[in-house]
């Protein structure tokens, strides 16, 4: 094929779907010959800024890159920090962390579903996805007090206990979502138009997925049953029963179906957590004993933590810590180097979207231009998360 036959098509950074990235597509007629993603449009230098902030101030900072999935980002950072500090959260706090992480997974997957819907031109699914997402956001708001940026998980525990009547409300919410998922099946997942757009499009083979280091639902849709919650369980996951959603096909449809199945599994986890959650304190004894007696009374009565003063100047000993959690979009890795001061020496944060960027050049090659949004949407790619 000669050079002249291809045209370079620039997609973005202003484009109809959720995207703050540019795609350079080299097209030959309707076929994409080569596609290069140009990311960095939301590069806000989180890793550098983390070196200037105290450990506790970094919690809101690491949440910002992934606004749709803040709880898991918060959790991963706190797990790494706890390893540095050598403390562990009490069992009740572990369960509370798990429940928030799973609620976040549900609303993040609905977000992805909605965005994928609008990329395929199905406004109904955008409206449905975003409406049903609000259910979980509302429940998370009751638990944490914030819509999206929870900053709920702190070193040694969590900020608040379960509010009154949370279990009943949650049961109602879960039943509603279960009912809705059936509707999604009817209107979207088994819809001939959706199937024609997604089935067999953007197939990722198992070997390629492993070779390229893909994470999350995109990996599991290609037949690799890798889930950090199973491989190296953290928080309350060792005591909970759930299945890892895996599909063998590896196409866009499989990726969507894996996410829908994960919503079901997350609901199963939430039900178990609410049934099994043990009584006890929500903050580690190491910190609880530092709280003045009057505040301690308040903490025990209201179930709300006021930050102990010690947390303002956390000084972990020299060393390094590595943590991985299963965020909604895949495995999230933190690596912290401490030099014994109040700020980290180096914070490395490898987000799932960043590891999935490579899929753009791999999957879209050889597809038609009209398939670009169908594949893009199925990857559930969140640009701020990739750029950090």
């Amino acid at each position: 094929m000669s050079e002249e036959r291809t045209i370079e098509l620039l997609i973005g950074p202003q484009h109809p779907s959720s995207g703050h990235m540019r795609l350079y597509a080299e097209v030959d007629g309707d076929i994409v010959v080569r596609l290069r993603p140009n990311i960095g449009y939301v590069h806000r230098t989180v890793e550098k800024l983390a070196e200037t902030k105290k450990y506790i101030q970094i919690i809101p900072l690491v949440e910002r890159p992934s606004l749709a999935d803040t709880a898991n980002h918060n959790l991963g950072y706190v797990l790494a920090l706890e390893k540095l500090l050598g403390i562990e959260a009490p069992p009740r706090a572990q369960y509370l962390r798990t429940i928030l992480a799973e609620m976040n997974r549900i609303h993040s997957h609905f977000y992805g579903l909605g965005i994928h819907g609008i990329m395929l031109g199905s406004s109904t699914i955008f409206m449905w996805g975003f409406a049903d997402r609000e259910i979980m956001i509302e429940m998370a708001q009751r638990l944490t007090g914030a819509r999206l940026t929870y900053s709920y998980i702190i070193p040694g525990g969590v900020r608040r206990d379960l509010p009154q009547g949370f279990e009943d409300e949650m049961e109602k919410a879960l039943r509603y979502i279960e009912r809705r998922l059936k509707d999604y099946g009817k209107l979207f997942l088994r819809n001939p138009v959706t199937r024609a757009r997604l089935e067999g499009v953007g197939v990722l083979k198992k070997e390629d997925a492993i070779k390229l280091g893909i994470v999350g639902p995109n990996l599991r849709a290609s037949g690799v049953p890798y889930d950090v919650r199973k491989v190296q369980p953290y928080c309350a996951y060792p005591e909970l029963e759930f299945d890892v959603a895996v599909r063998e096909e590896g196409d866009s449809m499989a990726r969507v179906l894996v996410r829908v199945e994960e919503i079901r599994q997350s609901m199963r986890i939430i039900r178990q957590v609410l049934k099994q959650i043990p009584d006890g304190p929500i903050l580690s004894e190491n910190y609880l004993k530092m709280i003045p007696p009057k505040w301690k009374e308040f903490v025990e009565k209201k179930g709300r933590i006021k930050f102990p003063a010690i947390m303002a100047n956390l000084r972990p000993p020299k060393g390094e810590a590595f943590s991985r959690v299963e965020a909604a979009r895949g495995e999230l890795v933190y690596y912290i180097v401490s030099d014994g001061s109040v700020t980290p020496y180096r914070l490395r944060m490898v987000t799932p979207s960043f590891r999935n960027v490579v899929l753009f050049e791999h999957l879209i090659q050889g597809c038609r231009v009209a398939d670009i949004p169908a594949i893009y949407g199925s990857l559930d790619y969140f640009p701020p998360e990739a750029d950090r």
Binding site: I39, G40, H43, T45, E47, K48, L49, T52, K83, A209, I210, K211, L212, G213, L219, V224, P225, Y226, V231, Q232, P233, P238, F322, R324, E331, V333, Y335, V337, Y345, R346, R348, V350, F354, R355, V357, V358, D387, R388
Partner: protein, 163 residues
């Protein structure tokens, strides 16, 4: 968790030590992390051996600047998707290089998953990964000028009274 998983990690550490026999390396184990310290000349060789053991992807490429020693530390966090027993551990492949003219051979041939991470560390710390096919700007704007931002000599404003 418990004893069995610890045993497993020890087994894997032994396996790694066996396959890397004869190479000038240091191995240490902490929790689920097996650290392999290696000289940067031997990096490719060690990586090939690890690939042979079954570690099939790179989780992250992290470089850290140590201005006092005039050194950069590069860490490849490696693990496995194909073998879920190996996935329980993470191998941290550590190497040090001088920060004046940091050059290191790219591991993209062995682990294609390191492509974007290496590109990012190239622009953030100025490390040249030799053999990397597109070592270009990734996150920073095209017209960015100045030292690589994650080097310690690059200062950003901070709050409070400056000492």
């Amino acid at each position: 968790m418990g004893l069995s998983s610890e045993n497993k990690i020890e087994d894997i550490a032994k396996k790694i030590a066996q396959s890397l026999q004869g190479l000038p390396i240091e191995i240490s184990t902490k929790d689920e992390i097996i650290t392999v310290n290696v000289k940067h000349e031997n990096l490719v060789e060690v990586a090939k051996k690890l690939r042979g053991v079954g570690f099939d992807h790179v989780k992250s490429v992290t470089a850290t600047d140590f201005p006092e020693q005039k050194e950069l530390e590069v860490i490849y966090h490696v693990s496995s998707f194909g073998d879920l027993d190996l996935a329980k551990v993470i191998v941290a492949l550590k190497t040090r290089l001088s920060s004046d003219d940091p050059r290191i051979s790219s591991l993209i041939e062995i682990w294609p998953s390191s492509k974007y991470s290496e590109r990012e560390q190239h622009e953030m710390l100025g490390i040249v990964f030799e053999g990397h096919p597109e070592l270009e700007r990734l996150l920073l704007p095209e017209d960015y000028e100045g030292p690589p931002p994650l080097r310690k000599e690059f200062k950003v404003k901070t709050e409070g009274i400056q000492g």
